[in-house]
């Protein structure tokens, strides 16, 4: 394993209590591997120079300035300065689920992803905001590019517990109304909700011209259904209990689950949104790159 990758292992990250540290680990680990930042503006109109930081795309280095001053400066464009990012993090009770073999619950994993993304965004001096939701908006942190804001985001996530039922459709509608400025909206959720209303909510975002990315976090057990012995499943979010014979039910369950994932995927494709399926047993770079690389090709094109 490469050195930096150890910081991306969920097993390792589960031991890191400090979200700030964890986010830095992830980003530095990831960026030192890729050297590419996928976040770029929407316009080609030059606005100002800013000093080069590690991770910036060398394509934007102003080589003329470098020739004169012997320093690396990047050319910044008009829209880039207006870049705002809203991270919507699902903290309904279903996110609390962690299977026996997973190091992190979906909530913890999603939180790490959110922290890492916020870190990346704010580090390149764009504005990032956080919105924790279940069936209503719990916290709404307006986007800001201040480094202190990052701390605010971490603090909020650290002090939020995943509870309550999810009602993402309603919440998305509400947020679509609230976020007036065209932004990048990153949704981190398991989407265990009424899928039709969720898709409607997402459509609302798209209608408002937001750039929406969906990161669906699932537990490996939810996809693999690895149970052998009879299991009494206790439903989260006020779902009933169910006694089941896993070996005989496995195929049927997996069929239903795959059908759900496919519907989500198809919905995102239809809405021209970025979509990535993240399992909590995957390394975080896998999760991030699945999302970011995809995004980069889109932005690049």
């Amino acid at each position: 394993m490469d050195d930096y990758r150890k910081y991306l292992d969920p097993q390792t990250l589960a031991k890191v209590q400090n979200l700030d540290l964890a986010a830095r680990q992830i980003v530095e680990g990831y960026v030192s591997g890729s050297h590419k930042s996928p976040f770029h503006g929407f316009s080609a109109e030059f606005a100002q120079h800013r000093e080069y930081v590690i991770g910036d795309d060398l394509r934007y280095v102003d080589w003329k300035v470098y020739a004169k001053s012997d320093r690396y400066y990047l050319k910044q464009y008009e829209a880039e300065t207006n870049f705002t990012c809203h991270i919507i993090l699902d903290c309904s009770e279903s996110m609390r689920y962690r299977s026996a073999n997973a190091a992190l619950s979906k909530w913890e994993y999603g939180r790490l992803v959110a922290a890492a993304l916020a870190y990346v965004v704010i580090k390149q001096q764009d504005a990032a905001g956080l919105c924790t939701v279940n069936d209503h908006v719990i916290d709404f942190l307006r986007p800001s590019s201040q480094p202190t804001h990052l701390k605010q985001i971490y603090y909020t996530m650290e002090h939020t517990e995943p509870t309550g039922e999810s009602g993402l459709g309603k919440v998305f509608h509400e947020l679509a109304e609230r976020i007036t400025r065209r932004s990048l909206i990153i949704i981190i959720s398991d989407l265990f909700d009424d899928l039709d209303s969720v898709l409607l909510g997402l459509k609302h975002f798209r209608h408002r011209k937001h750039d929406v990315s969906l990161l669906q976090v699932i537990d490996p057990a939810e996809q693999d259904f690895p149970f052998q012995e009879p299991v009494l499943f206790r439903g989260l979010e006020n779902q009933p209990e169910q006694m089941a014979e896993p070996r005989s039910l496995k195929k049927a369950y997996q069929a239903e689950f795959e059908k759900f994932l496919k519907t989500v995927q198809r919905g995102c494709r239809d809405l021209k949104m970025d979509y990535a399926l993240i399992r909590t047993d995957h390394f975080l770079d896998v999760a991030l790159s699945a999302f970011l690389s995809h995004r980069q090709t889109r932005v690049g094109s």
């Binding site: 609390r96 689920y97 009879p230 299991v231 009494l232 499943f233 779902q239 005989s248 039910l249």
Partner: protein, 749 residues
Amino acid sequence: MFEFSFHPVLAFGFASPWLLAGLLAAGIPILIHLLHKRKFIETDWAAMKFLLLATKKYSRRVRFEQLLVLLVRCLILLLLAIAFSRPYWSVQGAFFESAAPVHRILVIDTSFSMRWNGEEQSIFEEARELARSQVSASNPGDAFQLIQISNSSPQALISRPSRQQAYVLEEIARMQPTAEYGNVGQALQTALEFLGQAQELAQKEVIVISDFQAQSWAPLQTDQESARVRSLMEAISKKSTLTLKDIGLAEEANLAVIDFSSKSVFATLNQPVRLGVTLHNFGLLNQEDVNLQLFVDDQLVNQKLVKLPANADTQTEFTHQFTRVGDHRLEVRLAEDQLPLDNRRWIIMPVKKEINVLLVNGRQSGESMGRATDYLELALSPSLKEQPWQGMMKPHVISEGELANTELSLYDAVVICDVALFTENERDLLKGYVQRGGGLIISLGEQVNAENYNQTLFQPDAGLLPLKLLNRRGDAQKHTTLFEFDPLKYQHPIIEIFKGNPDAGLETTHLYEYFQAEILPDPNTRLILNYDTNDPAIVESSLGRGKVILITTSLDRRWGTWSIWPSFPPMMNELVLYVSTGKWEKREALVGQPLEIMALENQLTLSPRMIAPDQEEFPLQSVLDTNTETRTITFNQTFQSGIYELDWGKTSSEKTFYAVNVSPRESDLKHIGPQVIPPQYFRSQSSTPTLSNELSADRNTHAGLSENLLFTVLALIVVELLLLWRFSVGALSFLAVMFLCFLSLFFQR
């Protein structure tokens, strides 16, 4: 049970029903299923929506799948258990005979009447053939046991149920007719006991192959025995199918020597001996001029033609004079018929030159005829100077003091005359001598110390005679009272010769004095003579192999005139002869009865062997190992009739002969009547071929059914795997297997 016309339409059963316990194993999958359900883990679950949807949609199908898999697993174990229990079925009858493995007990008569020779073979050969066909035509799973109807030979030939046909056939081939009579009751009892074995085989059959001779099956003389045979047959028929195969003869003539004997236990040289022969013609026709021969030491010495009236005894006699001392083998032989075994009979006649009698004199005297033994010696050996006595009695007189130092075993009899006292040592010597077959006569007299006699010779439990001497009665000096003998109606064989012969003077013998005696109750003691006062005069008792006689008066002139009376010499001779027979062991026995062999002092250390008529040798255990006290050896292997030679192993002259004869019971070939055994027990032999056909047909049904089930089990194991792999394929294959299984069962039927 005996309605053989009963034919079930469909019968079903198990050859090894105890293996059906394996059916319980079919509950194992169900049990595992239930236990499996009871054990579960709990977990929180977020993706409940999909689980509920899956459960709702698929639970019915899942349950169906589970039930089918469970059914297949149970079926596998169920069919396996049934297959191992070897099920059988039979359609359209013949169920009881053949369908299932049967526990068959063959009872074959081997008594000597089965040696009757027919035109081609003996009826025993016929019986053996029938038994062999029964075994050959049996199922492979059938168990057999074999019993022979004999008497002393072991009856159980195969005492554990055997499923090995070859072994049973071998045992049948090894069977030989015996020379014994058939003890039917004992054989049936054994068969009844055998029925308790092989519990796993529900069907039992007892097949009796015999000539059904009335003497064996319904002995007229003993109602008790024939009732026992009937009740045993009833008991057997309750537990099994009893089949009697009669291979006997309707009415067949048979001639037999049923007795050959002599009144004398031994003969003396040059004295003619009368030998009585009893013959019997068991047929319905008179037989004229049948040749009867007498053989002595295998040499024909005499023969005659006899008439044998139908169904009656015929007595005849031979007279023979022996010219050589020693054991002689005598045989009478009747002309051969179809059952030759009972046409010969043997006896052994020992021939002695002389009988040695030891006279113990208790009173010495210088006078002529003054000793206590003088008159007795004269009576036994009346020698004259000019003509020495040539008789067989050889008396030898000793004084009482010499008794302890005399080898008593050299004498055939010892007579004590007026001996005053006995020591315990002398008593023990005499006792040992009598126990080993010696003869002892004790006579009393005026010197006798009654108290000493009571303490030594007549001591209770340790003495020679169970009696007690009391006071002397009468006065020999003054002749005050005169006593005479009371012959007690001449019942005893010794005084039988005086019966109707008053001139012999037994009842007119005069006596003046005697000892009164009290006879203690004892089964071996009997009175020979009384006095007219009702006191005992001569008492006889037996001790071990020998005999003891007490004469309560004296044998000289002191106490009466008996010693000069005509009754004295014959009486003394008879008494001595009578007591000396104890030394002559019985030399005859019937087949199966033991021979008692007595060893002499000088033979004790030898290792004798008995040579049977077929020259087979049986080493006998040394006397020292068996019974030193009585010096007897018992020989039990008298399975054949004829002469048995006992070889003491030293010189050929020391051979002793014994005669063993067949029991006359088996000579009567009269057949049993239907009034004794109900006819339904008998099945005609013609049913045998049909039986074997049924057997071969049913054998397939029996074997095929188990195989079929085992194939189904194999197929179901594959089906189970298919069900787990792909349910639809598994379910289809299950249907196919079931269909094929029923189809094959249908065609098999």
